[in-house]
């Protein structure tokens, strides 16, 4: 197990290094960052001022040096200063990441609850109408563009039916799970979690079908154990491993969607910040910082999923 962990840690380290190199090259491939900073100013800017700004952002050093400085500051959780608002990137991200994490968490819970129960249901009722409707919902979830399902959800449930607020977070006061707070989260979480739940549902279904076909299930049935006890205690407990571990990876994949969902529901998360402040203001330190946070979340999720998988299923360790 120790060897496995070390191997995984090394490979994750390499992934992170690769990602930093990639982001760094990306930010340096384009036009000179100074031009982005100065924008399309018509005013004549003196060379001295340009040099001053260049020195302030450390752009007067050589590229490897700049990369080293950037990585070193990343290790100290220092992501430089935002150009647009002259605040540390770290602070901006800290202010907004709770919203993103809550959104992701809510969506994840939705995806797991719905995905697992639908998967079990459609495996148990294989070939019946339950199975078909669950699979159709999953097909829908994998084909629907989130920016559109979000808008449609707002149109239907907020504008026409008026059940939920149409966006923004309102005042989040008191107990976080109280209805006055919770109702702002329900639509975004469902919109974000639906495609993930489709993936989990398909996995649960196939692994459940495999387990239900096995000898010990037949034995349990033969000795007269009740149908639902067989399904829950004997079936699901064994079938749940692959969907649960891949749920972690799936959620990390759907962080991409968090960006879109935040924009549609005007939630002040880091995706929203990245787009509105960083892209429209040409604020590349902020953008690089947010991209790195996204990658960090993805990689740590993947790492946890790997460890969980190895803990549960010893065969993985020796591959």
């Amino acid at each position: 197990m120790a060897r496995f962990l070390v191997r995984r840690a090394i490979s994750i380290f390499i992934s992170l290094i690769g990602a930093t190199v990639f982001i760094f090259i990306l930010t340096r491939l384009g036009p000179d960052p100074i031009d982005l900073y100065l924008g399309d100013t018509q005013v004549e800017v003196s060379q001295e001022f340009i040099d001053l700004v260049r020195a302030e952002f450390g752009l007067d050093r050589s590229l490897p040096e700049q990369y080293g400085i950037w990585v070193w500051s990343l290790l100290r959780f220092d992501m430089g200063q935002s150009i647009g608002s002259a605040r540390p990137v770290k602070d901006i991200i800290r202010d907004h990441i709770t919203v993103t994490l809550r959104l992701a968490m809510g969506a994840w819970i939705f995806a797991i609850v719905v995905g697992l129960s639908m998967g079990v249901l459609s495996a148990v009722k294989r070939g019946k109408s339950w199975d078909y409707s669950a699979r159709t919902l999953a097909l829908f979830g994998q084909a629907i563009p989130q920016f559109w399902s979000g808008v449609m959800a707002i149109l239907l449930f907020a504008v026409i039916l008026g059940w939920f607020p149409a966006g923004t977070l309102g005042k989040q006061e008191g107990f976080p799970l109280a209805w006055t707070n919770l109702r702002y989260w329900i639509l975004p979480c469902i919109v974000l979690g639906w495609p993930a739940s489709a993936g989990i549902m398909r996995l649960t279904r196939s692994s459940m079908l495999e387990i239900l076909d096995s000898e010990y299930i037949k034995l349990a049935r033969a000795k007269g154990v009740g149908t639902w006890t067989v399904i829950w205690k004997h079936g699901l407990r064994n079938a749940v491993i692959p969907p649960l571990t891949s749920a972690l990876i799936l959620m990390a994949d759907y962080l991409n969607g968090a960006l879109v969902v935040e924009i549609i529901f005007s939630l002040p998360g880091i995706g929203q910040v990245a787009l509105q402040q960083a892209v429209y203001d040409n604020d590349w330190p902020l953008l690089a910082g947010t991209v790195f946070v996204f990658i960090g979340i993805y990689v740590s999720f993947a790492f946890v999923a790997d460890i969980l998988y190895a803990l549960i299923d010893p065969r993985i360790r020796y591959q």
Partner: protein
């Protein structure tokens, strides 16, 4: 039953209690069986997508970029105050939604096709090379794919657009960069299996060069799989392109795309739903058909893939 059809008169049938379905029901039933065996509806949808994309110019009743504030938010034709002049109504700038849909189909089609072709070529090549050579080459390629898949695509795309400015060329590069990685892993594992086949050893003994072995002996074995992965990836490509357009990072403004139509329409959602609903529904229908066809192709061409990809 089907082999020996006994001719009976109507009276005989009534006496024996044989009820025969009327021809309409029989045909409907046959059509249902046919559509279960062949993906008919998805094929029709995809066919009309290609048709719309290719013939967008002659088909479109109006100029897709020209509007007029007087024609703002005209309702679709089935509304009381709608007219057949604008079948699906107009958007907030008075532009014809139907014509914009047609031209949007063209963009989706072109982007998906080019991205997919390049992704197919690069991904399959890398997969074969990685699987066949093994060792450090394999290690490096798998590592690159790992890093690549850890990158949040939309964010990276936004960075690129910020740095290089919005253009069709950049969009194509971005989409192609998204398209190749799904191929590598599956093709690699497929190659690992084929590599051990006796005919590959024979080819090596006979003195074939490595490129020849790769192209003549390994490639034909993985091509089916690659086709299946391709059909299963197109849907995601179209979704990604739409999301990029939605975020304002796709094809630059005057050209209509389905994603940007949703983006523009959603600010006027309460006054007019049609400029938002139709393009989104189009994406949904097309991606759904693609996924459906992909699943069907996979079960036909390469059933073993089900375990690898689910």
């Amino acid at each position: 039953m089907n082999t020996t059809q006994i001719e009976r008169t109507q009276i005989e049938r009534d006496l024996l209690g044989i009820r025969e379905d009327p021809p309409v029901v029989r045909e409907l039933r046959a059509a249902w069986r046919f559509s279960r065996r062949w993906p008919t509806l998805p094929m029709i949808i995809l066919g009309s997508l290609i048709f719309a994309g290719v013939f967008a110019g002659p088909l479109a009743p109006h100029d897709e970029r020209a509007g007029g504030i007087r024609e703002r938010h005209t309702t679709p034709f089935w509304f009381a105050d709608g007219s057949t002049n604008h079948i699906l109504g107009t958007d907030h700038a008075g532009r014809d939604v139907f014509s914009r849909l047609l031209f949007g189909a063209r963009i989706s089609l072109v982007v998906a096709a080019i991205a997919l072709t390049s992704g197919f070529l690069v991904g399959t090549t890398m997969g074969i090379i990685s699987g066949y050579s093994g060792g450090w080459v394999d290690e490096v390629i798998t590592r690159i794919v790992d890093v690549w898949q850890a990158l949040p695509f939309l964010m990276v795309a936004l960075v690129m657009v910020l740095l290089f400015g919005q253009s069709l060329k950049l969009l194509l590069i971005l989409m192609a960069s998204l398209a190749w990685s799904p191929f590598v892993r599956v093709i690699r594992s497929q190659t690992l299996v084929i590599k051990t086949e006796p005919y590959v050893d024979l080819a090596r003994v006979a003195g074939c060069s490595v490129p020849r072995i790769l192209i003549r002996h390994i490639l034909p074995g993985v091509v089916n799989t690659a086709v299946v992965i391709a059909t299963l990836t197109v849907g995601n490509l179209i979704l990604a392109e739409a999301a990029l357009s939605f975020l304002g990072a796709g094809v630059p403004a005057p050209t209509p795309t389905w994603g940007s139509m949703v983006q523009e329409g959603r600010n006027h959602l309460t006054t007019a739903w049609w400029p938002t609903v139709f393009p989104g529904a189009a994406i949904f229908a097309v991606v759904m058909s693609l996924n459906f066809t992909g699943d069907w192709l996979r079960d036909r061409l390469d059933p073993r893939l089900r375990q690898l990809m689910d």
